[in-house]
Symmetry: C2
Subunit: 343 residues, 2 copies
Amino acid sequence: MRVSLKDVAAHAGVSIKTVSNVVNDYQHVTPAMRERVQRSIDALGYRPNLTARHLRKGRTGIIALALPELGNPYFAELAAAVIDAAAAHDYIVLLDHTGGRREQEILVSQGFRARVIDGLILSPIELESDDLRDRAENVPLVLLGERHYDLPYDHIAIDNVAAARAAVRHLVGLGRREVAFIGARRGGSEPAQLRVRGWREELTSAGLPADDGLVAATDGWGHADGAAAMIRMLDTGRRPDAVFAYNDPMAIGAMRVLHERGLRVPEDIAVVGFDDVVEGRFGAVTLTSVSPDKEAIGRLAVESVLARLSGQAPEPRRVRADYRLVERESTLGRRTADDGTGG
Amino acid sequence: MRVSLKDVAAHAGVSIKTVSNVVNDYQHVTPAMRERVQRSIDALGYRPNLTARHLRKGRTGIIALALPELGNPYFAELAAAVIDAAAAHDYIVLLDHTGGRREQEILVSQGFRARVIDGLILSPIELESDDLRDRAENVPLVLLGERHYDLPYDHIAIDNVAAARAAVRHLVGLGRREVAFIGARRGGSEPAQLRVRGWREELTSAGLPADDGLVAATDGWGHADGAAAMIRMLDTGRRPDAVFAYNDPMAIGAMRVLHERGLRVPEDIAVVGFDDVVEGRFGAVTLTSVSPDKEAIGRLAVESVLARLSGQAPEPRRVRADYRLVERESTLGRRTADDGTGG
DNA sequence: CTGAAAGCGCTAACAT
DNA sequence: ATGTTAGCGCTTTCAG
């Protein structure tokens, strides 16, 4: 059986408190005492029972992170960032995925899957304001991704409209005149809507078409969805000279289709993605993409949880994370100096 | 403050035990009583404190999963499989990453990062048998990936040697005569060594060269490492007609280099990867790859932990998971019927 | 079928 | 500087 404080105390011939003091590095312990207790700890192989400590202190040291899916490398990389940021504060991360389904997101937000946590970081897709309104759970919740919830929760997000506009501006600046958008999610997803809005605003202000025929809706946000959307658009007879995709996997799926149809990227159709996943840097045509600062997002999310946990930050915060547009071959074409594999 | 069993008991005018019985769906509770208690539970919004339950029962309902890195989509997909398998047994998953560094792997195996878990699933890279020999931790440990540890822990793995042989056999069957191996990890990694061994065995038995000049060692296992290794090999003047890479990201990195150098895949050089990540199905040239059954691996790992937790399975098990070779354009060339995006 | 009470292992007052 | 003790919220004998 596991050895407890009591066992160590008995072995060392001291009280439980003294052992606890040593374990917790209390100040007022004589070196001799510390030495003696430590010897017993080592001899018995004592390891503190964190569950008991948690019960006592009301904190578990665990943050839950709920993402739509791990198969999308953006979320995988984000998870890594959160794990590292949490580790910096001696927190560990419980990971869950929702599939981007509203039901799952509601369950997670109410803590049905994990009730042993100090805080929750949730990246919602379909979740509505109303779903959160009567949230009974009292652990801090931080939302990832831009939303217009009128609710008292911290948000961490980049400015999707501005980022989408920057992507489209880049395309327009290269002389593209018919820019399609792939990935306006069916059933509505706020980040997708915001990117569509940015796409539309930028095109409109440039006096270029932004009609619905240039927008392809999808059910998911994977490679296959991007490929299917590209096929559908081409099959309508519409032939844009540029594509802005909701994310990189969809952009890459679309590029695959263009390649199969003998259309050249970027000569015939330029492509811009979103998220800057590693994969985009190593294709036959490297992918221009909006690159959110994932480390910052992960760090800010963890810090938000911890701040709220310690009673700081009375006002719900909307934090804007940085992003930048990384220009690669899918818009610029093959360069002489090969920097295709660079960041 | 949080409401406890005691509060509910007071509110319902019954004892704590009765409330506990209702919460835990005990058999012998009169419907009237159950009704009454349930009403109080709802009125107060009672939620059981899992930490307390865990302390009492000695189980936390948490499994830790420690992977080398999440950026590699294989591990991300594997994590998803483990989360789902765990959920099927009402377990949640604590995720950690080791970077494949021995020190981190040792720390994880000894539970330094997470001591609130019922079991640990670890996918080691550099960890040695000796590192595990004096493991004081008493939670069940299941190892992912083929190893020759002579230690009493469950292993879940595919047969790397056989899988590598199948990949090479496929290349040889297509008439390739000089097959390089990319990704023999510097500093030694057992799975990498086993794949090298399978590569060598198959080539040798086919009477083909398998000298060290055909093997490129790397420090990591990402796209960039595969690209760098490919560059080094080509720069030695060696011009293989096929490449077998340790994993898909490295294969894709290598293909990028071949593309930059104007070498055609598969006409000039055929490429086979390992892990069958989604990304490999959507490049300009889709990637032939060894496809491990990730769902099975995740499920078997979780089941191993739970079996050991319930005192079953006295003997440490070595479980072989399935794999298959998925043949795509990087070895077969562009097909007429387009099945490039299929599994 | 329900109530009382002990105790899981730990921390934090409080006492010495 | 060290010891005593209550109690975190729950489950679980053991009574009734």
